[in-house]
Amino acid sequence: MVVRSLTGNYAVAYAVKLARVQVVSAYPITPQTTIVEKLSEMIEKGELKAKMVRVESEHSALATVFGAASGGARAFTATSSHGLLYMHEVVWWAAGSRIPLVMAVVARSIGPPWNIHVDHQDIFDQRDTGWIIGVAQENQEVLDMTLQAFRISEDPRVYLPVMVGLDGFILSHTRAPVDVPDQDLVDEWLPPRRQPYVISPETNVVMGNIAPDEVHYLMRYSMHEAMERAKRVIEEVDRSYAEVFGRSYGGLIECYKCDDADILVVITGSWSGDAKHAADRLRSIGINVGVARVRFIRPWPRERLVEIARDKKLVIVFDRAVSMGSLGPLFMEVSSTLYPYGTSLAGVIAGLAGVDVSYEDFERAIKTLVSKLEEQGRLYIPQFWLFPEGFESEEKRLEVARKWL
């Protein structure tokens, strides 16, 4: 064990090295690039015995690691934003083929207009693909979650690929202390690779063939069942990781002062830290706020969220993405989960395209919604746009529109 000053991207690279990944392939894109740069360096120095396959696109990058993983290798790729969109077809292929592998997704907004800063639009765009999707809050968790991802993905109860989400720049390019575990301990904790089948020139396995419609239907059911089982596996892996490495994150949802809270914030990603800080400050003035940080958006922790949230006076969801034409994607999950309980709900959409959201902003939004709750007794505000500072009024927004026309 050694504490290093690492960016989130380097934390990913160290975890990949500790997992003894055998094949890496990726295409550069900001803010992902330094993950594979670091891995290239590790391979070049002989610290990691892996093959780095250079490709001409993200579509090929994931196809390469999917092929390598199908052939029995522990394989890894990483991407971001437009790169993730470009590989989207293969994202479905890997999950549908039930091939365990791990991909880091450095969350970044999607253009146009061009932007390299964080939001969760790219990650939520992968919601229905059959990948397990985790999102970390801190660099330490990035390392821990990446290691855990291999174990979850290769568990025979799961056999699905796993994405590890980390926020662009806010984690990817931020240095923070990271406890890097000893290789011996990781070797002991992470079992040798398991997968449902291994292709080789010696086995007559047909991939990508046409299945009867009914069998296709059943395969979707099979993937969905695996997702349901993955909830238990994620909790188990969190506990066993804590036993060996001393760090637990609460499995599917990390609860920060949830138990005695009247107001519950539901959120995911690095800005959860700012939300927790806001919760502490609001508590000091008598507003009892807790934070349920969703660590896995797939499988969706329905049962756990019901336990935590059903009896709260108000549940406020913070989305750093929007399903245009509907609502914030996290809000949609939370509201459908809590529907039977009639819990008061509000959905805040904020921080798109890396717009900075400070703890003061969280406090402002929470206070506003709490006072509305007090006025109305019950609350349902499905979309509450927390516009960037200075653009709260429609007049101001029109001014920008005229300028950019």
């Binding site: 000053s5 800063h117 984690l171 931020t174 240095r175 923070a176 800080h277 900075d356």
Partner: protein
């Protein structure tokens, strides 16, 4: 403790923030260092941030009310309001012999002169990041001189490490209240 670095693309503001965080982590503290990337090009004003604490740091938003600001280029004073949001009683450490911000504790150092003398010049640009860290340590004692020298030697190997260490020491010795 929150520190904001103002520089121009290519001067090393981001590296300065990173090295400061590395030094704090080396001392067993918690730290965070991050850039704010906009449409930066060489020469454009840039900002980088660092937080240092005895407790884990969970805040990730940008620093609005720093305790300390470090200005890597005197001309930045004319381009942006470097003291924006600086806390009362805050400290300004500037690469300048004359520029200061009224109402705060100011430290001046001729970092450009030191960098030029030591040959810390890349493509004609003096790189003053390590120099300014020497001045920052002198002005604030936020980390120890040994910690800064340790991370400088770790990040810059061989002769470059030696030259940068000398830059830190010279700035540490020549930084003055102004």
């Amino acid at each position: 403790m929150e520190i904001r670095f103002h520089g121009r693309g290519g001067q090393g503001a981001v590296t300065a923030a990173n090295l400061l965080a590395d030094a704090a982590i080396r001392e067993g503290k918690y730290a965070q260092a991050f850039p704010h990337f906009g449409a930066e090009r060489r020469g454009a004003p840039v900002v980088a941030f660092a937080r240092i604490s005895d407790r884990p740091i969970e805040i990730h938003s940008r620093i609005k009310n720093p305790d300390i600001i470090v200005v890597l280029d005197p001309r930045i004073f004319d381009l942006v309001n470097v003291a924006d949001g600086l806390k009362p009683g805050g400290i300004v450490v500037a690469n300048s012999t004359v520029r200061r911000v009224e109402g705060y504790t100011n430290y001046c150092v001729d970092a450009t002169g030191i960098a030029r003398r030591l040959g810390l010049v890349i493509s004609g640009w003096p790189v003053v990041n390590t120099t300014m860290l020497g001045a920052l340590v002198r002005a604030t004692g936020i980390v120890s001189l040994d910690s800064i020298l340790g991370v400088v030697r770790e990040n810059f190997r061989g002769k470059l490490g030696e030259v940068n260490s000398r830059a830190v020491l010279e700035a540490y010795e020549s930084a003055r209240r102004c």
